[in-house]
Amino acid sequence: MELEALTGCLSSLSCTVTQISTGLIIGMLLFLVASGLSLIFGVLGVINFAHGSFYMIGAYFAFIAYQTTQSFTLAILAGALGVGLFGVVFERLFMSKVYGRDVLMQLLVCYAFILILDDVVKILFGGEYKLMGMPQAFALPPFQIGGGFIPAYYVFMIGISFAIGVLLWFGIAQTRFGKVVRAAAINPQMVGALGINTTMLYAMVFGLGSLLAGTAGALAAPIRTLTPGMGLSILIESFIVTVIGGMGSIVGAFIAALLIGMTRAFGSMAFPLFVDGTMFAIMAIVLIVKPSGLFGRPVH
């Protein structure tokens, strides 16, 4: 415990600003991954345990696209659309075969894919760390707020993640597609009976959820090291976020992601070795007090 480090930082504006920007970066990435996980669970009732691996392949798709074209825009598109498409294929060919069956079967299909994707990445890129590097467009001087420095890419990333979040919220809350999605989450049989093609809907929702994971992976590629195992830790963290926020709630995922991001940023100063422990403690407290999460529907 180094509480004086934390209080020391909080009393200095520049340090606080830097830590807040770090917390926002972690939080926004988590939000993108967690909202996809939450969306898929809300509508299909399936936890995609391979969601973290989708984030990983998003990062690698962006890496390949950036290496070949040197265009960062194309890299993001490759990560987002590539993984979205992969998600649709995954849902149609594999996941749809185990709907309504044992959780065990869903778990095993995802487990198989985590193993396969990790190994495929290892075969293609080797087991060692890869760096994509910062795109030329962001080689700007860092922004200076209250004496704290925030790299230009951080500002871009926070902004674009926030925009995607607002778009997603708007899409779910206001559009016709969003209404169908929300209805399917509550009563899929009724939605099917009303003549809506639920097979198509499920594939689209799965694709959208995967697209969010892929986008997060692509956005993380310039600032994170790429390794075959990078999916698992974000899977666990994004699950913690969805549990705290409440399964199926986009707003909940957003608030919980910020909470976890800030906990990681400031917690790493106060108790560097026990940051993971703090996240689990928060989750455990939320589960004990409110098992459905802060913004979730009651489980029963």
Binding site: V98, L115, K122, G277, V299
Partner: protein, 346 residues
């Protein structure tokens, strides 16, 4: 009747014990003994997990946490040099039961998919504790320096043959305990909870307490698997607590089937054999294992042993009486009740 069946179980256990004890005299190759100890360690992990998955319907994806806890607590106690092996074993099983009680108390109240994920999350938490608490656990190097095995009651586990016999006896004792649990009224209550938790609750069963009890028991038995493993490799490694160990245990259950008591053990033997051959031919172990899992899940749609079991059952039924409609009708009935349950829950 209950006494009669448990007498028969005891006789079968004695036969198994004799067979396992005789095995190294029939096949004197040490690799055979090593393989069996390995299967015992992972078999105990898979069979204790099946108490949760197969008998109670609790899909835990973090069961290896208790396996690792068994290996680490036992290893640390023995390295302290202050306790004898039996005392360390009792303390390990007790300590792991306590750990499972704390984690279980938070997890068992949740529904299936939340439960699966939460157990996974707690396991990864324990894994990260093992990795970061380097001064105690040796971090990613594992518990180094070997585990001392001082003789007790005239038993010297430093001798590899004695170690084998010791593990075999431990294994059979655990099997008998698990069999007794499964056959007891408590075991039947667990099956009722699996098939219809609402009805069980309505009949006055304290579902949460029952789930917690079996969660603790399963954790304690998994820790015995961890002790066997620690004794065998003379160390403990963070991989024991990694999620893939739990995944493999789940797959062993799937491979061997959930319907037979010994199914997970069959799965452990099959998976260890598969691993053995895969690692000879390729380093891409995950790729091969993943594809095999997909073939089983999407092709057979159940465990290998369950498939064979059902095949034999339907052959028997067909031979006894030409009544082909009976079984499908039964199947649809259970499916519908399950669906109705799901609908009511969401």
């Amino acid at each position: 009747m209950w006494a009669q069946s448990s007498r028969r179980d005891l006789a079968l256990a004695a036969l198994l014990l004799i067979a396992l004890v005789a095995l190294p005299y029939i096949f004197p190759h040490p690799a055979m003994r090593d393989f069996i100890i390995y299967v015992i360690a992972y078999g105990l992990l898979a069979m204790s997990l099946n108490l949760l998955v197969g008998f109670t319907g609790l899909v835990s994806f973090g069961h290896a946490a208790y396996f690792a806890s068994g290996a680490y607590i036992f290893g640390l106690l023995m390295q302290s040099g202050e306790v004898s092996i039996p005392v360390a074993m009792l303390a390990t099983v007790g300590g792991t039961a306590l750990l499972a009680l704390v984690i279980g108390a938070i997890c068992v109240r949740l529904h299936e998919i939340y439960f699966a994920f939460l157990t996974l999350a707690f396991q990864m938490f324990i894994h990260s504790v093992i990795l970061t608490w380097v001064s105690l656990t040796g971090g990613d190097q594992g518990l180094m320096g070997g585990i001392p095995r001082p003789p007790f009651l005239g038993i010297d586990l430093g001798n590899s043959m004695t170690l084998y016999m010791f593990c075999v006896v431990l294994f059979v004792i655990c099997l008998v305990i698990m069999r007794q649990i499964v056959q007891s009224p408590f075991g039947y209550t667990l099956r009722m909870i699996r098939d219809n938790p609402r009805r069980a609750n309505f009949l006055g069963v304290n579902v949460v307490a029952m789930k917690l009890a079996i969660f603790v028991i399963a954790g304690a038995i998994a820790s015995v698997g961890g002790i066997v493993m620690a004794l065998f490799v003379s160390g403990a490694y963070p991989e024991f607590a990694f999620w893939t160990t739990s995944g493999e245990a789940i797959f062993m259950i799937m491979l061997g089937g959930t319907q037979l008591f010994l199914g997970p053990l069959v799965g452990a033997i099959l998976l260890q054999t598969l691993n053995h051959f895969v690692t000879i031919y390729t380093e891409h172990h995950g790729l091969v294992l993943g594809i095999v899992i997909l073939i089983f899940v999407l092709g057979l749609r159940r465990g290998l042993a369950d498939y064979v079991y059902e095949l034999i059952q339907s052959r028997k039924a067909a031979a006894a009486e030409p009544k082909p409609r009976a079984e499908p009708a039964q199947a649809t009935f259970t499916d519908e009740t399950r669906l109705a349950d799901k609908g009511a829950n969401t």
